[in-house]
Symmetry: C2
Subunit: 254 residues, 2 copies
C-alpha cells in the first residue's frame, strides 16, 4: 500500500485521483454530493458550454450548492481540473501486442486520443501542468510505452516518440475543433481574407497567400490528413527502429 505521505503536501488532485481519502469516519453530516458527482457535473458543464463555463459558481449552481461548498470536495480549482482531466480522457485503449504490430498500436492510440477530444472538446483547453500522475492518464502512457519498447525502442526513445504522438493528436484535435466552429475569427472568414490577401501580396507572402486563396490554408482536417501526419511520424519511428535512417544518425541538419 502507500507510504505515510501527507496528502496535503501532494500536488492537487493526486490523492483524490487515487481514491486516497478513504473516508473512514462516518461521523457528522452526510455529504449531499460525492467527489465523483462533483467531477461528473463539472464534465457535463464543460461539455455543454465549453471550458470557459467551468467556473466554481456555475458548478455550484448546477449542484444546488453555493460556490463555497465545492471546496469541501476539492481543495482548489486546480485540483478539480486535474480530476476533470482524468475523467475526461477516461480509460486508455487496449492496444494489440506483438513487436510487429506497433504501427497498428500507435495508430490506435493516436486516433483514440483524437476521438476523446471529439467527445470532450474542452480536453484540449485543459492546462497541462506536467507529466501525468493520475491512473487513467498514466495508463495511456503505459500502454503506448509498452508498444514502443516492445517494438525495440529504448525507454527514453519510447518516451520521446510517445510525446510526439501525444502532441500530434492534441494539436490535430485542436485545429479540427477550431475549423469546425469556423467563427468570425477564423481565417476562413471572407472579411478576414478580404483584408489580409492584399496585404499578403503587397508585403511578400506569396505562399501563404496562395494557400489562402486556394482554401488549403483553412480547410477541414479530414481522416486523410490525420493519416498523413501520422504516417510521417511512424515512418520516422520506423527508421529509428531499423537503424537505417535515410541520412544521418545524430545531426538532423546535414
Amino acid at each position: 500500500m502507500s507510504t505515510g505521505v501527507d496528502p496535503q503536501e501532494l500536488p492537487p488532485g493526486l490523492a483524490l485521483a487515487w481514491g486516497l481519502p478513504a473516508k473512514t469516519s462516518k461521523l457528522g453530516r452526510t455529504p449531499s454530493q460525492s467527489v465523483e458527482q462533483v467531477v461528473e457535473a463539472a464534465v457535463e458543464l464543460a461539455d455543454a458550454d465549453g471550458f470557459a463555463a467551468l467556473s466554481m459558481p456555475k458548478l455550484a449552481k448546477k449542484l444546488g450548492l453555493t460556490a463555497n461548498a465545492i471546496y469541501r470536495y476539492v481543495r482548489s480549482r486546480d485540483e478539480l481540473l486535474v480530476l476533470v482531466a482524468e475523467t475526461g480522457w477516461g480509460p486508455a485503449p487496449d492496444l494489440v501486442s506483438g513487436a510487429d504490430r506497433w504501427r497498428t498500436a500507435a495508430t490506435t492510440w493516436t486516433r483514440s486520443m483524437i476521438d476523446r477530444c471529439d467527445v470532450h472538446p474542452w480536453l484540449v483547453d485543459l492546462p497541462v501542468r506536467g507529466a501525468p500522475v493520475t491512473p487513467n492518464l498514466l495508463r495511456w502512457t503505459e500502454v503506448i510505452l509498452e508498444s514502443l519498447t516492445g517494438a525495440g525502442l529504448s525507454p527514453k526513445e519510447a518516451i520521446q516518440c510517445a510525446l510526439l504522438l501525444d502532441v500530434y493528436a492534441r494539436r490535430t484535435a485542436d485545429m479540427r475543433r477550431d475549423l469546425r466552429q469556423s467563427n468570425a475569427g477564423s481565417v476562413k472568414s471572407t472579411t478576414v481574407q478580404d483584408f489580409l490577401l492584399p496585404l499578403l501580396h503587397e508585403h511578400g507572402y506569396p505562399l501563404v497567400a496562395a494557400l489562402m486563396t486556394s482554401n488549403e490554408y483553412s480547410d477541414d482536417i479530414d481522416d486523410n490528413d490525420v493519416t498523413f501526419g501520422l504516417t510521417l511520424i511512424l515512418d520516422g519511428i520506423d527508421g529509428l527502429l531499423s537503424g537505417n535512417k535515410p541520412h544521418h544518425t545524430t545531426d538532423p541538419a546535414g
Copy 2:
C-alpha cells in the same frame, strides 16, 4: 493597398498588427503612450513575472495609468495578447535556400522557435486562437513553407510538416521550462515519488515506474534530446520526399 474593410469587424489585433489605424487626425489630447509602448510594457511584465501576471491593472500601473486607459490603445485583452505574441515571437529567422538544404533550414527554424521560447518563456502559455494572421507570425510560416515546398513538397504537405515542426518546438520548449523550474508539483519531487511509486507497482504500471525510478521520466531536455525528435520528424519528411516510405503509402497501421 487594403480594401475598405471595417477594422471593427476584424479579429482582435489584426488591424493594429498591420499598422492599420493610420491615425490621421492629430486632434484632441495627445496620448501619453503608443500602442507599441503598451505592448512593450506588457512583454516586460510577462518577462518579469510570467504570463499570469499579465493583467490589465498591473499593466496600467506599470505605465502610470488606470486600468481603463489601456482600452484606448487595445480594444480588449485578447487584442493585447495577439500583439504581445507578435512582438514576443519577433521576426522569423533567415533560412538557407536551395532544395538540398531543406534539413538545415527546417532545423534552424525549429531551433529558432525553441530559442524564442527560452527568451520569452510565456510564449508557450499564450493561447493560440487559430492560424497566424500577423506579419511576424506569418513570416515564420512563409519561410518554412518556402523551404519545404522548395524541397519538393506540395503546399498541403508542406503545411502539415510545418505544423508538425511547430508543435514539436512548442512542446519541447514547454517541457524544458517545466523541468527547469522543477517545483514541488513536478514528478521529480521526492514526495510525489514516495507516494506514487508503490501505487504504480501495485496497480500494474511497470514501465512508468521503471522510468520514474531511473529518473529518465523527468530528466532535463538537453540538446541531444531535441536533436533526436527533430531527426525523427525530418526522416519522416525525407521519406515523403523520396517517395520510398518504409512500409506503406496511406495506411499507417499496416
